[in-house]
Symmetry: C2
């Protein structure tokens, strides 16, 4: 079946699994916590000031306060929620699904007066579509320099919006065509505000493409294929297998450390070893080759660079510095003498037999003995345990009161009121 | 020099030639006439309704009435002005420069309270940049499926906005970075409303990228290079040669026939031959091979398809049907018996020795004699003659009174008042 038709059928008829919906709800809570914590970032101020200065119909809430037309709210919320780079990741295509999809779904849900349940359902449809489209585009697309969060995310955001609007298959196909001519986003933005902006662009594209198509703006019927053909897509024929039956969003990953996701398996493994920093003679970390060029800075001097360093974060973990706290990634801690002394004892090597979600850690003690641990981010994490970890993360980001309020939300108005507060 | 720095220096220091400014003024008049004529197209109604429904600060005029925030006005005006596909073309990169660049410049000029002269200067800087970037991206970029009007146009629109905002070189480089992560647009949209939408997206990207960068949103410093590397760009090292000294916009082409630009050289050649349709036994048209797959429909049955047919438009011209009038491209005329009878006598052949701007016509009469004519769109057309032809075109599109009002504009407020009327 043509990919546009697969997605159209999915948007019109899919019945989400309970597990996928439970996972989506956790991702939603995590997204909201990251968004609220991100509102003090410089990017947030720039985009909020510009958007609120332009104003317009108060269709949809903006994180940090105010309401704006749906496309603008989606753009701003997407960018703000990705500002800390602490939101969820899906490793199937390597993209952040929530920051592109949820802001689009939220803006349309508010504009349409949808229920919290319908909103959550749309988030899941859009997120699942983003992962599937990302797999369909494939690794070439990512490796050549496209940011899947932005590109696959734009198609997912479009599907989320369409699900809420009750689009028929022809409207879905048309909206995907419009998304294909607007979707964009480059990895060259990594390390700049352009990266979170990309997430906002995906959300905006979803809202615009869906509302334009529903209003009768015509487009190509082969949008996704045209996008793939021009954007180094691999057109992986298996990408849509089991769509609507198998929910890849059940395997989404959440960040429990405020740094690059490539460091997380190592940090989880490190957490299994109970050792005093003073006893450590050397640390050997083994990881997937991909991460060697992503997050292996040996001697970072800034808090931002520390987020991309095995040596730094391993030393922090051994010294008991909380790697889940945004506040632990400062220039001061990056240059702290005890951290610097310890990180020089960390060696990192690649092993292609590991997956991108696995890491091995060996800690050699001064007495010559060693302690080993491994971790696989793909290993099942029971839902209650995941929920507990995400709630603790929210408390760390927002404090007890706001985290409690967020986690006890039962309707859409309550959620948007918290996001605006 | 890095392409971003070439463009930054150009935006900051260029002194336009008088000829280029004169040509830009003609393109501006032509753009406005096409935009005002396009306001009754279905696309215009959809985008105007949505935009005016969202509302917001009245920063910039919308063609057909109303004012909206600058990015939204740019999007709508770009799309409306390309709805008839009757605006100018530059053959160096094959793109429509005005529809991407002018709406961005206009929105920023209004928001900043610029003079008509400063606005015109910015239009030229942006248009020249769009052509240069298009040449830098090259034919591969176009052939693989990108719409240069949208992609190169977005960078041109960005430069036009920055010129009006008095950006320094670092701000230009930053804005190009932001444009690189938002610029998009596929040729797969040809034949749908997505094509004019692409022009609007370029204009919107220009406004957004420029204002975001001026507000401090950070981005990659190698945006254009990153865009080229991912979007099948050829990085033609000669593309920026003579930038600021040689003005390629002096060679922009204007449409004097309401159909595909690939037909225009043939129609101009046909116009040189004085013959009665009843005397014509056969017509032989010779054109560049490129156009054989673009505008060589032998037997169109709709007005839209007629715009892409040598046989149809040649027959129309011989029968005295005005090919400069939008109203001549109807389903009825496409199927008129006299046109259909005559177009069957038209044969079209390709000759790679011709340029894309040249055509040859031979008309064979019933008495066995023949008459020949050739035309080259690149041949110099004296400025006064071009102005006269464009003014006649505007009269055809708008009527005498509105065309006169447009052509006698001396300040920006007068221009925007006409566009809103």
């Amino acid at each position: 079946m043509q990919p546009e038709l697969s997605l159209a059928e999915f948007a019109a008829t899919a019945q989400p699994s309970e597990t996928a919906l439970d996972m989506m709800r956790l991702s939603l809570m995590d997204w909201a916590a990251c968004g609220l914590a991100g509102v003090s970032e410089p990017l947030a101020k720039i985009l909020r000031d510009k958007g609120l200065g332009e104003g317009g119909a108060p269709q949809a809430s903006v994180i940090g306060g105010g309401k704006l037309p749906a496309p603008r709210a989606a753009l701003i919320n997407g960018a703000i929620s990705h500002a800390l780079d602490y939101d969820d990741t899906h490793f199937a295509h390597i993209g952040h699904t929530s920051v592109g999809v949820i802001p689009a779904a939220l803006a349309i849900a508010e504009a349409e007066g949808a229920s919290l349940e319908a909103f959550l359902d749309a988030c899941l449809i859009g997120s699942e579509a983003a992962v599937r489209v990302g797999v369909w585009l494939g690794r070439d697309h990512y490796q050549v320099g496209y940011h899947q969060t932005a590109t696959a995310g734009a198609f997912g955001a479009t599907l989320a919006a369409l699900r809420l609007m009750g689009a028929d298959p022809a409207q879905v196909v048309g909206a995907l065509g419009l998304a294909s001519t607007k979707a964009a986003g480059l990895k060259a933005q990594f390390g700049t505000m352009g990266k979170p902006l990309n997430a906002g662009l995906a959300a905006e594209t979803g809202v615009e493409a869906a509302t334009w198509a529903m209003a009768g703006l015509t487009s190509t019927n082969a949008g996704l294929r045209a996008f793939g053909a021009t954007h180094h897509g691999m057109a992986d024929a298996t990408a849509f297998d089991g769509l609507g039956e198998v929910w890849r969003m059940e395997a989404v990953s959440h960040k429990f450390h405020a740094c690059c996701h490539g460091l997380h398996a190592m940090l989880e493994a490190m957490g299994q070893i109970d050792v005093a920093a003073a006893d450590v003679a050397a640390v050997q970390i083994t990881t997937h080759p991909r991460w060697m060029t992503v997050c292996n800075q040996p001697a970072p001097t800034t808090g931002l660079a520390a987020k991309f360093s095995y040596a730094q974060t391993a030393a922090m973990a051994l010294l008991g510095i909380d790697t889940s706290a945004i506040a632990s990634f400062t220039d001061e801690i990056a240059n702290a003498p005890d951290v610097v002394a310890l990180r020089t004892r960390v060696a990192v090597q690649a092993d292609p037999d590991l997956t991108e979600m696995q890491a091995e850690v060996r800690i050699v003690l001064h007495d010559g003995t060693h302690m080993d641990a491994t971790y696989d981010l793909a290993a099942p994490l029971p839902m209650t345990q995941r929920a507990e970890k995400l709630r603790r993360k929210a408390v760390g980001l927002l404090g007890d009161m706001r985290a409690d309020a967020l986690w006890s939300v039962t309707d859409l108005d309550a959620l948007t009121a918290i996001l605006r507060a």
